[in-house]
Symmetry: C2
Subunit: 199 residues, 2 copies
């Protein structure tokens, strides 16, 4: 038996396709939309359509962009000699939030994961190498995730770029600030010991 009127069922179905949204969350969201203002549903729907219409990939760094180049690539005040290589556009936001980095980015749009059938060809690795041929770059910071896929990707990209005579660095692994030694996993703690610094 159909418990929902067809338009509600359709909305639930579309909401459940979203990541992290199960049947219960979908129901909560649908009811919120149903009970809310006509206007706010309009704004949500048009924000969804607008983002698809106006956002594309930056032709230089493959971050999300509104025009050919993203705001970061087209910002002349940034240091174009350092490129931070990340997996996803959200990682650009994470690094930007630190306020510590004034160079440019290169978004690989994923990480090497043989189990998911993702090799270097599926990523923007070729585009990175092409870019290094055109641009004058002194350092590549590999800021892929510190997990198996990210480490594999970092290793692969580093082997590809080092022969070009460009300095390649990797972000540090270690204990998170505010973390607790007792609860750190042994791999992280091992890396933190290995990467110890003089005080």
């Amino acid at each position: 038996m159909a418990f929902y009127a067809p338009p509600i069922a359709r909305l639930l179905e579309e909401l459940e396709r979203l990541p992290g949204i199960g049947p219960k969350s979908a129901q909560r969201l649908a009811y919120h939309i149903l009970r809310g203002e006509e206007d706010s549903a309009q704004r949500l729907a048009s924000a969804i359509l607008e983002v698809k219409r106006s956002i594309r990939f930056c032709e230089r760094c493959f971050n999300f962009a509104e025009s050919e180049e993203c705001d970061i690539c087209s910002d002349g005040s940034r240091d174009a000699s350092v490129i931070c290589v990340v997996e996803e556009p959200r990682d650009v936001v994470a690094v930007e939030r630190t306020g510590e980095f004034r160079g440019l980015y290169h978004v690989l749009q994923g990480a090497i994961s043989p189990i998911d059938g993702i090799g270097p060809e599926q990523l923007r690795v070729r585009e990175l190498v092409d870019r290094l041929g055109r641009e004058s770059v002194a350092e590549i910071i590999l800021a892929t995730d510190p997990d198996i896929e990210g480490e594999t990707t970092a290793l692969y990209v580093s082997r590809l770029i080092k022969p070009l005579g460009i300095r390649v660095t990797r972000i540090a692994s270690g204990l998170p600030v505010g973390g607790d030694l007792e609860y750190a996993d042994e791999v992280t703690l091992g890396r933190a010991l290995e990467a110890r610094r003089e005080m």
Copy 2:
């Protein structure tokens, strides 16, 4: 500094207005929409607009409906002499899923909650009483939530309806099926003892 292109920022803002969606979830949803098919964003946006356009409240029971009366109210095979009173449309779905109830519903659209400024006037209580004047009803089952607001509402509605000579019942409170005595809170266990039945 703006970390996101304006259309992405706008979508994030709209997504964060939804219940249970914080900044991290909003980002995950936005990136899913951005990386997904044009087509699936279209379907999501139109499902949102469609649901607002086509769904209204049933004029009889105040459940969501596509026309004047909802599918349940207009189903002649259901027993119109029993009305199950619930707080929200989602509760109708919950009761329907049991497959145990063949009567009609009345959706109060909330529960009495003085702290939130919700009194009987904000609910569809008047409409229930009017309905009992028009329809021939033998039993009202109060299926509001077993929390303070739901109990208050049940008590209020029961006092209003009992003088009309209609049988008023309340769904049972007790231990959930598959539950564990050890972990039951004392109020629930107390209710379960109080409502014990002969075996």
